[in-house]
Amino acid sequence: MTYHNPPTTPRKSATFDDYAMSEIRRAAATGIYDIRGSGAKRRVPHFDDLLFLGASISRYALEGYRERCDTTVVLGTRFAKKPIELKIPITVAGMSFGSLSGPAKEALGRGATLSGTSTTTGDGGMTEEERGHSEKLVYQVLPSRYGMNPRDLRRADAIEVVVGQGAKPGGGGMLLGQKISDRVAEMRTLPKGIDQRSACRHPDWTGPDDLEIKILEIREITDWEKPIYVKVGGARPYYDTALAVKAGADVVVLDGMQGGTAATQEVFIEHVGQPTLACIRPAVQALQDLGMHRKVQLIVSGGIRNGADVAKALALGADAVSVGTAALIALGDNDPRWEEEYQKLGSTAGAYDDWHEGKDPAGITTQDSELMKRVDPVAAGRRLANYLKVMTLEAQTIARACGKNHVHNLEPEDLCALTIEAAAMSGVPLAGTNWVPGKSAF
């Protein structure tokens, strides 16, 4: 009887896992970095790591459906003659026409309007579809200034100066040739079919001292009527918030790294920026240090999925949240009904992120005239409205359970954290203790 050495089980490297190796092979074969849409997919500490305490004997709950729990938010109370009032503390984030199809933009407007909230343009100018179907529309002023014009500035309800985005703080947008159709090219004054890479800095200002003057110009053009938002990616939230306030913003929009993008380098999405959860408290601290909390409103975005996320963001000090990726999912993005087609594209429902290729089976992130017909703007808008309504009801449910007659009365003290990381990032105590890492002794 011969003795064979027992074989060891084949073992894959934790460092060189299947994904890392596939990336190396892809890079070696193509000579270009991976480009994709959406936000960070890695696991980061998130709202799921926080829990609400709820009412008990020491606090009294409100009766659901009977006792009022208000959700209105007024944005732009600092300087604007015409602040905007949202019925719900959830808005729809900026997504460009170009990156999204016309029907998808229309559906976002319809859904937001049905819910009493606003939607936002993107890096491609304002379309008639979205202006027509959006009762409240926020017009973005971006580094590229594609489609920028004073008429649209005046017919906007608020103006958002975009400095950065959570998916790529410090980077500009991308729109690759497949999606530069005739209409997109015309709106952006670009040749059809080129790979468009937007600027990462504004063409006519750099730094907060110049931003203050830029904001003055926009206010003068629009006769001080519109709220001016400043949007920043989650990079240095304390300083960025403080500087936006000093430069004269009415509203600060803060986008964490889970926030999506139409297209950029995978390495940028996954390795630059901070998780949304880690951004909120420094931003709120900056507002409090300047005596501006609630006077300059804070909108938080990046990975908001449900009413619990909304309530947690508000409890940490935000005035409202905004949704982008979640809104696209409500419209039909990554829906399993298109699984067969996702498979043909080498992906699967739930993982599809090659938004830059313009082949989206759901007809949302495309300029293909056949594919975009799959989005019925009325039905998709209704789905978005339903989803926003559900999130609001969920947030109200939690607020009532914590004894609040307005969602803005949620406080950090209504929360506890499940992990040390989340406790440290959000500044709330670890569950069952009074311990906030970095702030108090265990």
Binding site: P150, I194, D195, P203, D204, D210, E217, E220, I221, T222
Partner: protein
Amino acid sequence: MATSNLAKAVTHEDQHAAKVFDLSKTTLRELNQALHDASEGSNHTNWEIINPKGSHAVAVGVELPLQIDVRGSVGYYCAGMNQNSTITVHGSAGPGVAENMMSGTVVVKGDASQYAGATGRGGLLVIEGNASSRCGISMKGIDIVVRGNVGHMSAFMAQSGNLVIMGDAGDALGDSIYEARLFVRGSVKSLGADCIEKEMRPEHIEILQGLLDRAGVTDAKPQDFKRYGSARTLYNFNIDNADAY
């Protein structure tokens, strides 16, 4: 052209009806509000702004074919997003003069600071002195005529329109340029990525002559200029061009 002829005609008749705004006495807000509230057919189509002393956002967002003369130097974003009106700065202009202009004419009698005509979509910007860096950055259809020199990175990412430089251009002219046309009479210190000299064909001579005429330039011949534009090698990503960045 119809609107600018109208502006000229009305100006002529109302020469003494010029409305004067003294920025040492009235606020910027009152000035811009008055310019926005001016209505079609009003007596005041001729405006004079005195003592600007480097103020920002002077005469921004004007929509009507007004004739506006600014006596002195202005700060950032003078004539920003201008439509239809003719604005003359009798002095120098700070950063971003006529930024995102849609139409009309803006004339700077002195020098212009950085970002002159940034992202402009239409109309004519004439700078009689020198323009500093990034003149015509991301221009999207505006025509710019600079009698003097322009600084570095001018016409950076310029998408469309014409930039005429009667003097010299600084470093990295036309970096990452798209379809804008650049005409330079003097020297070019260096060209930016993907910007090359191109043949001056008869149609370009004609375009340039038209621009010089509109800018009131009589002392330059189109034949003395060289044309620059995009080599279009960066329009679609190619790893072998990565050194260009």
